[in-house]
Subunit: 202 residues, 2 copies
DNA sequence: CCAATATACTGAACATTGTTAATTATATTT
DNA sequence: AAATATAATTAACAATGTTCAGTATATTGG
């Protein structure tokens, strides 16, 4: 990487850090080109020398957030025994992360990063995020339970859909209306779904 | 209702019909005050004589759509035998309606109708929509299976969350990538969840 | 039926946003 | 140090939601 590339990367970094701070705080609503640039210490027009448009900037923030999210979750779940217990821990930490940063939830699941060319890969990345986090543990379950791959796949999907469904209702509609009740619901649902891995086949 | 109220209601109707047509067609993205008013045959400023702001107009459209949705679903499911079979039919019709009108899905589940005062009631209305559609059939299950109310409640919730999770991924991320695969996933998930009502308790 | 008043409608204008293009400032090279 | 290339900024445009003062229309009292 030559000097020019290093400097460019640095400049992108300034804008991205500004955007990321604002996203974590105020969220996407209050994010605009002028405020990002001001926070970064440049004119709004300068931003366009380093990003195609504001969507590209936001898209790059999503990637950073996903890494951060993964790190945080794995740290939280690392002492949990492999298998169903860790799947539950990871899933709850996953949900917890998005509750902590609602604007990142929006970015990941709600906002259509629309007309960006890289849309499709990003979509897949998000869609399979929880599955990737639990990959080892699902493998462990496959090895150590009587459930077959097909059944595991359905349960895995279900966990994914329920997690994001609960988040959607809680974040967007504030339903359940308080956090205590929400975590209760999360516990009940996640436990119920994962428990099915250990239930005897009927 | 006096003459003035009748006329006001009629005017609101013109704008709402215009907005509803555009919402069903192009969706929320292309909806703007000027185009709604043009479609309705008035100036954009006239709109503000009948609605506080464009959010109020859209909010009223949501209500109309919900009624329409309910009618369509109940018509589709009316010949299905009560209980689990009808729950499945209703849920699939419910999902189908939103696939047919993605912008209504957005309106219902994604868009925060935000700063509107009537937010809370609307949220509850949406949150409990599927449950209300299936109300009689869940009661039927409670009467005719060995499952208790508590267990039924969990399954009901799960169905709600999974439905909206699947929709979210399919609508917003186009995942699964084609409609055939999507309906397959819907069938598998819905059938699996509802089937649990009939499974013997372990 | 006409004038006075109330009501309804409209265009002009403003604020906020993303974006582009031309101009100015800065750095690099010869 | 001058010429050139690069970077950053200001000015401006377009789309959108919203407000307000003016104009057209309807209603009412004589």
């Amino acid at each position: 990487m030559n000097n020019k590339q290093i400097q460019e990367q640095r400049m992108r970094g300034y804008f991205m850090q500004a955007a990321k701070e604002m996203l974590k705080g105020e969220g996407l609503r209050s994010l605009n080109v002028r405020s990002i640039a001001q926070q970064a210490g440049y004119s709004f027009a300068t931003l366009y020398n380093y990003f195609k448009d504001v969507k590209e900037l936001v898209f790059l923030c999503v990637n950073d957030f996903q890494e951060e999210c993964e790190t945080e979750i794995m740290l939280k779940a690392k002492d949990t025994p492999a298998g169903t217990e860790r799947i539950k821990a990871i899933t709850k930490a996953y949900i917890g992360y998005f509750v902590q940063y609602p604007s990142i939830f929006n970015l990941f699941f709600i906002e259509r990063l629309g007309d960006i060319g890289q849309k499709q890969p990003t979509a897949a990345l998000i869609y399979t995020f929880l599955d990737r986090l639990c990959l080892h543990d699902w493998d462990y379950c496959l090895q150590n339970t009587e459930k077959e791959e097909k059944e595991i796949a359905i349960i895995k999907q279900e966990l994914n859909y329920v997690s994001c469904g609960m988040l959607l209702f809680y974040m967007n509609r504030i339903q359940p209306s308080d956090y205590t009740e929400f975590t209760e619901t999360v516990n009940i649902q996640v436990d119920a779904i994962v428990a099915r891995v250990l239930q005897p086949n009927s």
